[in-house]
Amino acid sequence: MGKFTGKNGTQERANASKYERSKGQFKSNRGASGKLKHGLKKIDNQYKEAIHSAAATEMLLQEDAGFLEAEGMEKTYKFKQDEIKAAVDQTTSNKAFDLKLPEFGPYTLDYSRNGTHLLIGGMKGHIASMDWRKGELRAELHLGETVNAVKYLQNEQFFAVAQKKYTFIYDHEGTEVHRMKQHVEVKNMEFFPYHYLLATSGNTGYLKYQDVSTGTLVNEIKTKLGPTQSMTQNPWNAIIHLGSSTGVVSLWSPASNEALVKIQSCRGPVKAVACDRSGNYMAVAGADKTLKIWDIRNYKELFSYTTPTPASDLTISDNGLMSVSWGPHVTVWKDAFKTKQQSPYMNHLIPGSRIQKIRYVPFEDFLGVGHSTGVSNLIIPGSGEANFDALEVNPYETAKMRQDSEVRTLLQKLPADTISLDPNYIGTVDKNAGQARLSAKELAELKAKQQNNEKEAEIRPNVKGKNSALRKYLRKKTQNVIDQRKMRLEANLKKEKELRQQKAKRDRGEPEEKELLGPALARFK
């Protein structure tokens, strides 16, 4: 990087690489003309200047990230939540609550985008939305119906609940706003705040995208992978990751009806999938007790771990801490994407319970755990992003700011069909579209070549088709329907085949099987 002078000083920034957007994209062309070269150089300098000044703003960040360090013989994973609670400051320990709700569990949960609100849903129909920092209950519902999943939409004003059959949207007071009857038997829900899309999947094997700002169903995709076991979104490119019962993790976008990528991650059902904030890594937990870390830039498996029992849920925090829940345990791993870890960062046990759902609180050092006897908040130092960007998501927003940002984000809503593996494809030159940049002459040549190929393809060897009326009939009939006629036809076909084979053998001069066995035994063949 060049040397900079001016308001940002001449100092080189060590952290500048964090702010790089497109490495190596601005290399000036060797063949470029003087004017173009100058223009490219100018853009390059502007880009470098921008990175430099962005890196320089880091000293203005107000908060520091949390940490937990062991001294001497201590191990961080040996620390109990009680000890941690006693060691941290008063405000933090106050936030570590434990709700005992044994009646309606197991509980699933979700935090609002800015982390101020908590939505819990008991399997037996108990729904509660609350400002968990202030301890104020916003809405409480007893649905008297199974609750499979809960999800806050763009802010805490609306939430979606996947119930026994349909999916419903409730407002902040708990009033039913919509019944989405196209979303049937939903088990998992994800919300894309920049696209205003609610994605659902479940027992039906369909992945459905609902635009919550217009109320239209954007796309329904038949996954053809059986009931969906687990789902997560990649927050970096808004791709949905689905885990199937065959151990396949498939990547989906509403723009395509086929899976973009399929990864065979484990044998047996995929219990949980999670993606990190940067969209570089994916963690997959299977029913075969494996926990695998994948690099989803090149779809390579990085590390493989085993869990003592199959994991029930998996989540990754903003700062890259990975939590796994298995049975009554929660295990937190640090730096799990960099090196293979030998021991976990933290452990927690909720005795006599089964953990259903774990989610990190955005911008806080807490992990919310929904289990069969209630909901707990665990202190996980170093998990949350300390410095939020108030123009993006603001945990301290007022009602007015919330309303403004809602209008603003709606104006900037991204179209659903722009979701693709590379979120920055817009505004880049498609280098793969070779056809688009061919000259007229090249195009004419290409066309002539294609025509020639077609002509060549027309001459085919005279091969008799293997189709027959019988086969056609059998194909049309559903495979597993067995009736009299089908059995008869199958028998006929088999007989025909045998006769053909016998004829072929005779032609070759080989002795027939029948003759080998003799007339008495040939009967039983």
Binding site: K18, Y19, A54, T57, L60, L61, Q62, E63, D64, A65, G66, F67, L68, E69, A70, E71, F79, E83, I84, A87, V88, D89, T91, T92, Y194, P235, W236, N237, A238, R277, S278, G279, F363, E364, D365, I379, P381, E385, A386, N387, F388, D389, A390, L391, E392, N394, P395, Y396, E397, T398, M401, L411, Q412, K413, L414, T418, P423, N424, I426, G427
Partner: protein
């Protein structure tokens, strides 16, 4: 155990009083800003749409306008909001543009007013086909007491200059009390003297346009009915050089920032920018009009050019680009005769055959009102975004789209076909003639028939230079020049 957790004090983020602004902390880490480019693109798209929604270029007309077609508009180069207009019925008016107020009105001539000018002292000069040039005072104290409704006939008249022929054009020096008139002869006058001080005519033809350079103040240019563009210098008291074009120039304007550049609006629907040092080719051609260009003007920044056409439209060009960035028209506006930038380059003033003087915005979506810093920042950000994504197909389409009168649209199509057929014919000609006998001529040289220097020595020098330089193409041009050497006298 060493432990620390995030513990923010809400006092840092929530304002104590509701009159205080919230502390909006930023974190520029790209991971906190997903879909950065897609969101910026969406913003740019919205900004482009808003720009087109806010595009209301027409502001209004000045007062009640005139009673006959506007024949001249003159800027006051020393005041930001004053202009003078003259019409075909012999009336001249002086306007306060910001108030849309008529400051003075004189029935100046019995014939049509061919040109007006504002002197550095703030007086008004008008010239006409009736062989007179008149100097007027627009200071109201000089002729107070007259009836407001009645057009003042003799009050305010300071001086009359008499000539032997009809005056077709006139322009005043930027700072000295000198003005030049054109017609059958090109004459230089001093406002202190009653007779002209010199005659700068070159050739017998009528001269229709004359324009002083406002930066290099001793130089002026003229254009005549023999399609000649002539440059003069009042220090040597003689013309310098002339080029003959294929079509006549209706208007000339000097670049106020680059003193050697000027633009001419031609009968052939195009405007050409020239560098007075290299007059053998145009530096740029501004196309798009579908009828003759009647007037051109440079913005005071020297970056933009406005043209008014006989096709009843105003077009605005970037001075370095070949096609217009915007087109203005209204249903009632007739053939344009005059277009001028205001001295702050924010507005365009147009005069047309329908006797109205209209005021337009230079940037059609811009609003003049006082803006909060928040709004200013937003508009700046939007401009940057629009510039960044200007080549994206959708944004390009929306920002370029203009509703054009059907007549113009049809004319454009016809013109396109005509030009194509001419080109085809030329190419066919070339194919069927002896190789090399019909060389390619650059588009920027096509309109130039020949170039002549007043001074014989300079002409020879020019020729020698040409031969050394560019070879056959240049020689061809020089050959043409000799054909017109008859104009030298």
């Amino acid at each position: 155990m060493k432990i620390k957790t995030i513990s923010r004090s809400s006092d840092n983020y929530v304002p104590v009083r509701n009159t205080q602004e919230s502390n909006l902390t930023r974190n520029l880490n790209p991971e906190l800003h997903p879909f950065e480019r897609a969101r910026e693109y969406t913003k740019a798209l919205t900004a482009t749409k808003l720009e087109r929604m806010f595009a209301k270029p027409f502001i209004g007309q000045l007062g009640q306008g005139h009673r006959d077609s506007i024949t001249s508009i003159a800027k006051n180069f020393h005041a930001i909001n004053k202009i003078a207009t003259g019409s075909a019925d012999g009336v001249i008016k002086y306007w306060d543009v910001s108030l849309s107020l008529e400051l003075a009105s004189f029935k100046a001539h019995y014939n049509r007013v061919t040109a007006t000018a504002v002197t550095p002292k703030g007086q008004l000069l008008s010239c006409s086909d009736d062989k007179t040039v008149k100097l007027w005072s627009v200071n109201v104290d000089d002729y107070e007491g007259g009836n407001d409704t009645e057009v003042n006939k003799s009050k305010g008249l300071l001086k009359t200059f008499y000539g032997d022929h009809a005056f077709r054009a006139m322009d005043h020096h930027y700072k000295d009390s000198i003005f030049v008139t054109a017609g059958a002869e090109v004459l230089l006058w001093d406002t202190e003297k009653s007779k002209h001080i010199s005659n700068l005519s070159w050739g017998p033809e009528n001269v229709n346009v004359v324009k002083f350079n406002k930066t290099e103040t001793s130089v002026f240019a003229s254009s005549g009915s023999d399609n000649a563009l002539i440059l003069y210098d009042i220090r040597t008291n003689s013309p310098i050089q002339k080029i003959i074009q294929t079509m006549r120039s209706n208007a000339i304007c000097w670049n106020p920032m680059e003193a050697y550049n000027f633009v001419v609006g031609n009968e052939d629907h195009n405007a050409y920018t020239y560098d007075m040092r290299y007059m053998n080719h145009a530096t740029n051609i501004l196309k798009d009009h579908v009828a003759a260009i009647m007037d051109v003007d440079y913005s005071p920044t020297g970056q933009e050019i406005v043209t008014g056409g006989y096709d009843k439209t105003i077009r605005i060009y970037n001075h370095k680009q070949g096609h217009s960035r915007d087109i203005y028209h209204t249903k009632r506006m007739q053939h344009l005769t005059q277009v001028k930038f205001s001295m702050d380059s924010k507005y365009i003033i147009s005069g047309s055959d329908d006797a109205n003087v209209r005021v337009w915005r230079t940037v059609s979506h811009e609003r003049a009102g006082v803006k909060s810093s928040k709004l200013k920042n937003k508009l700046e950000y939007d401009e940057a975004l629009k510039d960044r994504f200007k080549n994206m197909p959708e944004i390009k389409r929306i920002s370029r789209h203009r509703q054009v009168p059907i007549v113009i649209k049809k004319a454009q199509e016809i013109k396109r076909i005509e030009i194509q057929s001419l080109k085809r014919r030329e190419e066919n000609d070339r194919r069927h003639s002896k190789p090399g006998s019909k060389p390619y001529v650059s588009e920027r040289q096509k309109q130039i028939v020949g170039q002549v220097f007043k001074d014989e020595e300079r002409e020879n020098k020019g020729k020698g230079k040409g031969k050394k330089g560019k070879g056959s193409k240049k020689n061809e041009l020089q050959g043409k020049e000799s054909e017109f050497s008859g104009f030298d006298d």
